[in-house]
C-alpha cells in the first residue's frame, strides 16, 4: 500500500511519458532480438534443407533411377540369349551396383550385390547351356528362378528408396510448414502487442488525461456562477493534472470568497451602488468631518440639498429604468462640477442629492447651487427627453453655518427648509436659508432669489 501511494503521489505526465518510452524501447529491442534469433534459426533450417536434406532427397531419387535401370538390365540379360549382350549387361550391372558403395548406404550396397550375383548366375547358366545343351525346360526353370529373385531384389530396393525419399520429402515439407506457422505466430504476437498497447494507452489517456482536463474545464466554467455546489472532482492520478485541478479548485474558492468580500465591501464603502457617488453613510461621515475641520480652521460649512422635480412622475410614466438613468446622469453631472473643488456629493435619498461645501460661505454656495440647477436643466437624459418632451429640473435648498457653532443636524434642517421653500416657490429654483442668529454682524449671505 505505501508503495502504491508513493507511486500515485509521484506519477506525473512526464514520468508516465518516460515509462512509456522505456517500455517501447525495451519492447523494440526484445522484438529485434527475438526476430533476429528466430530468423537465424529459420535461416539455419533453410540452409540445412538446401545443403543436406534436398541433396539427400536428390540422391535417393538418383538411386531410384539407377535401380529402375538395374531392373531393365536384369530383364535384358534374361531375355537376351546372346553371349555378347549378356556379357555387356553383366559388366554394366557390376559397375552400376558397385557405384552404390559411393553413397555409403549398406542396404543399397547389399541389395546391389545380390542382384549382381543373380545376374552373374543367369549368365553362367546361359553360357553353360550353350556349351553343353541338356534339359532345356529344366534349365529354363532355374534361370527363371534366378531372374525372379533378382527382380524381387530390384523391387525391394525400389520400394525402400521411394518410401525413404517420400518420407524425407514429407519431413522437409513439414519442417517448412512448421517454420512458416511459427513465423506467422510470432509476427501476430509482435503486431498484437503494439495494437493492444495502443488501445490500453488510448484508454489510459482517456481516463487519466482527457477526463480530468474536461472535468477541470467544466469546473472552471462554474467559477463565475453563483452556485458551484457540484460534487468535488476526483483527484487526477497524474501530477501535473492534479496540480491544475487543485489550482482550479483553489481559484474557484478564492473567486467565491472574493465575491462575498466584494458584497460586504460595497456595503461598507461609502459608495451608492446606483449612481456611484457617495451614499448617505459617507455623507454623514463627510459632513462630520467638514464640521470638525471647519471648526479647527474657524471656517464655515455650506450644504446644498437637491431634489429632482416631478421625479415620481418620470418613474410612473417612463419606468424605473429611465428613472435610474436620470439619477445616474444627474449624479454624474453634479460630481463633474464638484471635481477639483473639494466639494463632496452624495445621494441623500431617493431622488435627493446633497453637496457639502467645506469652507464655502452662503454666497458661494448659492452661486454653485445656481450653476448646478442650470446644468441639470440642460442635461440630455438619454433620448427620452427629446422624444417625450421630458425635461429634468431640480430644486435646490442652500444653507450655511459656522462650523464652530453649528451642527450637522442644524445645517441639514436649514437646507431642508430652504429646499421646501424652493419646492413651494414652483420648483427649478434655488432657495437659501440664513440660520445664524448668534452672529448677525458676520452675516455676509444674501438671498439669491
Amino acid at each position: 500500500m505505501p508503495l502504491r501511494r508513493h507511486i500515485e503521489e509521484q506519477l506525473t505526465l512526464v514520468g508516465a511519458g518516460r515509462i512509456f518510452v522505456v517500455l517501447a524501447v525495451v519492447y523494440a529491442v526484445a522484438v529485434v532480438g527475438l526476430s533476429v534469433g528466430f530468423l537465424r534459426h529459420v535461416e539455419t533450417g533453410a540452409a540445412s534443407i538446401q545443403e543436406q536434406r534436398i541433396p539427400a532427397i536428390l540422391t535417393q531419387n538418383r538411386n531410384a533411377v539407377k535401380v529402375e535401370r538395374l531392373g531393365s538390365l536384369v530383364r535384358s540379360v534374361y531375355l537376351a540369349r546372346d553371349a555378347r549382350i549378356e556379357r555387356q549387361v553383366q559388366l554394366q550391372v557390376s559397375a552400376l551396383t558397385q557405384s552404390f558403395s559411393l553413397d555409403r548406404n549398406e542396404r543399397l550396397s547389399a541389395g546391389g550385390r545380390r542382384i549382381a550375383e543373380e545376374v552373374k548366375r543367369i549368365v553362367e547358366l546361359r553360357t553353360l547351356a550353350r556349351s553343353s545343351p541338356g534339359d532345356a525346360a529344366e534349365e529354363e526353370i532355374i534361370v527363371r528362378r534366378a531372374y525372379e529373385d533378382a527382380m524381387k531384389a530390384v523391387e525391394g530396393l525400389s520400394q525402400y528408396l521411394a518410401g525413404d525419399a517420400a518420407l524425407a520429402a514429407d519431413d522437409v515439407s513439414r519442417d517448412i510448414r512448421d517454420a512458416a506457422s511459427r513465423i506467422r505466430g510470432i509476427w501476430i504476437a509482435i503486431l498484437a502487442v503494439p495494437a493492444l498497447g495502443a488501445l490500453l494507452l488510448f484508454w489510459l489517456f482517456q481516463r487519466h488525461v482527457v477526463r480530468p482536463i474536461n472535468g477541470t474545464i467544466d469546473r472552471l466554467a462554474t467559477i463565475g456562477a453563483e452556485n458551484r455546489d457540484g460534487p468535488p472532482m476526483a483527484e487526477p492520478v497524474l501530477g501535473e493534472l492534479r496540480m491544475i485541478t487543485r489550482a482550479v479548485e483553489a481559484y474557484g474558492e478564492l473567486s467565491a470568497e472574493l465575491r462575498r468580500t466584494n458584497e460586504a465591501l460595497q456595503v461598507l464603502s461609502g459608495q451608492d451602488a446606483l449612481t456611484h457617488v457617495g451614499n448617505r453613510r459617507s455623507f454623514d461621515a463627510a459632513l462630520d468631518l467638514a464640521f470638525a475641520e471647519g471648526a479647527r480652521a474657524d471656517g464655515r460649512v455650506s450644504l446644498l440639498l437637491l431634489d429632482l422635480d416631478n421625479f415620481k412622475h418620470i418613474n410612473d410614466v417612463h419606468g424605473h429604468q429611465v428613472g435610474d438613468v436620470c439619477l445616474r446622469t444627474v449624479a454624474s453631472a453634479i460630481d463633474g462640477h464638484c471635481r477639483g473643488t473639494g466639494y463632496k456629493v452624495a445621494r441623500y435619498g431617493g431622488e435627493e442629492f446633497a453637496v457639502i461645501l467645506p469652507g464655502a460661505d452662503l454666497a458661494a454656495a448659492v452661486l454653485f447651487a445656481e450653476r448646478l440647477r442650470v446644468a441639470v436643466s440642460a442635461l440630455p437624459v438619454a433620448d427620452v427627453t427629446a422624444r417625450d418632451g421630458l425635461r429634468l429640473t431640480t430644486s435646490v435648498g442652500v444653507a450655511s453655518l459656522d462650523a464652530a457653532t453649528g451642527t450637522p443636524a442644524a445645517l441639514i434642517a436649514a437646507a431642508d427648509a430652504a429646499l421646501y421653500e424652493a419646492k413651494n416657490a414652483g420648483r427649478n429654483i434655488v432657495r437659501c436659508r440664513r440660520t445664524e442668529p448668534a452672529a448677525p454682524a458676520r452675516a455676509k449671505s444674501r438671498s439669491a432669489g
Binding site: Q92, S94, A95, Q98
Partner: protein, 254 residues
C-alpha cells in the same frame, strides 16, 4: 560540319573504349588429357571428345565464355595449369590433398570407384596372395598408382603414362591385371575383343579410391571456381548433364 565531325570523333573514342567489354567476350583455355576414353580422347578427326570435353563445353556455354581445348600429357597437366598455359583442367581429375595444395578444385562433376580387371580364369581375387607374382599395371600419377604403391609395396607395379597404353599392355599380356576407374574400364571391356577380361573381386573399398572427379583452376583465378560450381549446378538442374551422361554411360555417374 565541324561540330558533327567532333561528335563523330567522340563516338569513335567511346566505341574504342567500349570495344573490349563488348566484342572481347571472356575466353578460357581448357586442358584435358585426351587419353582416357570415354571421358576424354582424341577422335578420329583429330578433335578432342568424350564426357569431360562435353561437360567442359556445357560449362563454358553456361558461363557464357568462349573456350579453347587442348590435350596435355597427364604427368605435366598440373604444372602447365600452374604455369598459366591454360585456365582450367577438365580431365576426370580426382581430388587429393597433394593436388589441392597446388590448384583450386571445383565441386565434383562425377563420382567413381576403382576396380581391378584381368583374365578371371587366371586371377582369382585381389588379395596380396592372389596378386603375388603378378604384374599390376596402372597409369602413372593417378590415385590408383598411389594406392598400389602404398598398399602392395612388395608387388610388381608397372606404370604407363596413360590409360590407353596400360590397357594395350594388358591386351598384349605385358601386365596381368590393371587397377583403374570402374566406369572407364567398363567401356573398354564392352568391346568384343576384350571379352576375356572381367572385373576381379569387389571394388576397392579404400575411401581414397572412392573418388570424385573435379575441375581444377589456378588458386589465384579469383571467382572462376565459384562460377564453375554455379555452372555445374545449373547443367545438373536443367538436364544438360543427364543428356551428356546418357550419351556415354548406361546409368548416372553423378
Amino acid at each position: 560540319m565541324w561540330l558533327s565531325r567532333r561528335f563523330g570523333f567522340t563516338l569513335l573514342l567511346l566505341a574504342a573504349g567500349l570495344a573490349p567489354a563488348t566484342a572481347g567476350a571472356e575466353t578460357l583455355r581448357v586442358a584435358t588429357e585426351g587419353a582416357y576414353p570415354p571421358f576424354n580422347y582424341v577422335a578420329e578427326d583429330g578433335s578432342l571428345a568424350g564426357f569431360d570435353v562435353d561437360i567442359a563445353k556445357a560449362i563454358c556455354a553456361e558461363m557464357k565464355v568462349v573456350c579453347s581445348y587442348r590435350a596435355v600429357a597427364w604427368d605435366g597437366i598440373i604444372d602447365g595449369l600452374v604455369a598459366g598455359d591454360y585456365d582450367l583442367v577438365v580431365a576426370s581429375m580426382a581430388h587429393t590433398p597433394e593436388r589441392a595444395a597446388r590448384v583450386a578444385f571445383s565441386d565434383f562433376y562425377y563420382r567413381s570407384h576403382s576396380v581391378f580387371i584381368g583374365d578371371a580364369s587366371q586371377i582369382l581375387g585381389t588379395s596380396p596372395e592372389n596378386l603375388a607374382g603378378r604384374r599390376i599395371g596402372v597409369a602413372t600419377e593417378t590415385i590408383q598408382a598411389d594406392y598400389l604403391k602404398r598398399t602392395f609395396p612388395g608387388l610388381t607395379i608397372v606404370e604407363a603414362p596413360d590409360s590407353i597404353v596400360i590397357l594395350k599392355m594388358l591386351e598384349a599380356g605385358e601386365v596381368d591385371v590393371v587397377l583403374g576407374d570402374a566406369i572407364q574400364l567398363l567401356s573398354w571391356m564392352e568391346a568384343a575383343e576384350h571379352a576375356r577380361f572381367e572385373y576381379i573381386g569387389d571394388p576397392v573399398g579404400d575411401a581414397f579410391l572412392q573418388s570424385s572427379a573435379r575441375i581444377a583452376a589456378r588458386k589465384d583465378a579469383g571467382d572462376l571456381v565459384a562460377r564453375v560450381n554455379e555452372a555445374i549446378r545449373h547443367i545438373r538442374l536443367d538436364g544438360t548433364y543427364d543428356r551428356i551422361n546418357d550419351a556415354y554411360f548406361p546409368f548416372s555417374i553423378y
